[in-house]
């Protein structure tokens, strides 16, 4: 049986850890601090899958019924 990746599940959108530079441009776009982003837990199954550490910011590319595709950001927390 092949290994199953959670990210292949139809209701799990694409998650990726973003680099420092991209994070800066995101934060300056919304005029916020990193701590004001929505959160994702480090024990979250998907956090574990992509190997995110506390303090990383995860970019989530959601399939949206209204916008087609929407970017969302979550800060990894304890």
């Amino acid at each position: 049986m092949t290994k199953f990746s959670l990210l292949d599940h139809e209701s799990v959108p694409k998650h990726e850890i973003i680099a420092e530079g991209e994070l800066k441009s995101v934060l300056s776009k919304f005029l916020i601090d990193k701590e004001q982003l929505p959160k994702i837990k480090v024990q979250d199954p998907v956090s574990k899958e992509i190997g995110a550490a506390v303090g990383d910011v995860v970019k989530i590319t959601r399939k949206s019924q209204t916008a087609g595709e929407a970017d969302y950001y979550r800060l990894v927390i304890e």
């Binding site: 599940h9 209701s11 929505p38 994702i40 998907v46 927390i77």
Partner: protein, 399 residues
């Protein structure tokens, strides 16, 4: 003279539209064939339309969402049980289900799974009735009542279990498996009867009536085969494909089975989705379950309102309920919390701790009688003095 595809692409590339709008615009323009001047005009009009349909800054999005879901909610049936189109499986619908979703209950009152089957080749599970049936028996929890009659022999101080051969065959379980399972689970003496076919005799650890009666009860709870908590599995054919529906939910266990399509299998238990697939999948599940519940009742609520609710419920990385122990109970303001529920306790606790309320939210400002910081109330006007205005001048104007 219409412009080329590449020109159109470069013209719409930098527009601030969401991708669905961009694609629709691109397709329509390509189909119609427009000149450069027309294209510019279209873009201008589209931008205008887009700005009109965007939410205004400082608009009370949450209140609008609450009312937009609440009003149709008054028309929902109070208590409905329905067979939801799925063969014989009972699911909670209507208002009770909606409340269950926003309350983020750990276990819904009628948990249910939809198990999609793998369909990699034409001989795979999804197209194969026998394979599907066999898998269904593997998943469904088999208890002793399904395959046998149990009699309590008080004179001999033992339980006699007469297994039905046909039922065992159907569920693909053998007498030895039953015996081993009881041995493992109950810590009692289990024997296969030497004289009579398909009979198991169980003798309690110590010969007392209490023990015997207790044992007679507890053997009904032993899961001999399958997944604990899956009470029933129904096989349905949809189009070309077989799908399993289960009463009871155990997503993590089911995903381990061979033949289950792990990418498309789902449950209506949102908490389980959160634990197995993560917070983003849980958010999607909240949206799906809430829209399905509303749609089934014939109510249309714009999905944006439900998306807002789902976002708020999942914004801290876990699924929080809308209520005392969730969103409303965690507000920063003392007044806002006191206005919601258990007023006296909140005020008392805040007083003892010496909490400070900065009056930044809506509720607390209404309580103290100030303009709220929404809409025009959130805008502060600062004027730059250009020249000195004589007090006398103002006076005369007023008069």
């Amino acid at each position: 003279m219409s412009i080329s595809e590449a020109t159109i692409d470069s013209m719409i590339k930098d527009l601030p539209f969401p991708s669905s709008t961009l694609n629709a615009l691109r397709e329509d323009v390509l189909k119609a064939g427009v000149s450069k001047k027309e294209m510019e005009e279209i873009i201008e009009k589209a931008m205008e339309e887009y700005e009109v349909s965007c939410i205004e800054p400082c608009d009370a999005a949450g209140v609008v969402a609450a009312q937009s879901i609440g009003e149709p909610g008054t028309q929902m049936t109070m208590r409905t049980f329905h067979y939801a189109g799925v063969a014989e499986i009972n699911v909670t619908l209507g208002l009770p289900r909606l409340i269950e979703i926003v309350d983020a209950r750990k276990i819904p009152s009628t948990p249910m799974m939809t198990i999609a089957l793998s369909k990699n080749d034409p001989e795979d599970y999804a197209y194969h009735r026998e394979k599907t049936r066999a898998l269904a028996w593997e998943i469904e929890a088999t208890k002793i009542d399904h395959i046998a009659d149990v009699t309590t022999d008080l004179s001999q101080m033992k339980l006699i279990i007469d297994l039905h051969e046909k039922a065992m065959e159907g569920r693909n379980i053998t007498i030895d498996q039953v015996k081993d399972k009881f041995n493992e689970e109950l810590n009692v003496l289990v024997n296969i009867s030497p004289d009579i076919d398909n009979q198991i005799v169980i003798t309690p650890g110590e010969p007392s009536y209490r023990e015997l009666l207790q044992l007679a009860k507890s053997i009904h709870n032993v899961t001999l085969k399958g997944i604990e908590g899956i009470k029933r599995v129904v096989v349905r054919k949809e189009g070309e494909e077989y799908t399993l529906y289960t009463e009871g939910s155990a997503l993590r266990d089911v995903l381990q089975f061979e033949g289950v399509d792990r990418a498309r299998t789902s449950t209506n238990n949102i908490n389980e989705i959160y634990e197995v697939l993560g917070v983003e999948a849980a958010r999607n599940a909240i949206i799906k379950e809430a829209t399905d519940t509303l749609r089934e009742q014939g109510l249309t609520v714009d999905i944006r309102h439900i998306m807002l609710v789902a976002d708020i419920m999942t914004c801290d990385g876990e699924v929080k309920q809308i209520g005392r122990h969730g969103i409303s109970g965690e507000k920063a303001s003392v007044f806002a919390r006191a206005a919601f529920e258990v007023t006296v306790n909140h005020l008392l606790d805040a007083g003892m701790r010496g909490d400070v309320d900065k009056l930044e939210g809506v509720t607390e400002n209404i309580i103290v009688g100030q303009p709220i910081r929404m809409g025009t109330g959130d805008v502060h006007l600062v004027s730059r003095k250009t020249g000195r205005v004589e007090p006398e001048e103002i006076k005369t104007e007023e008069e």
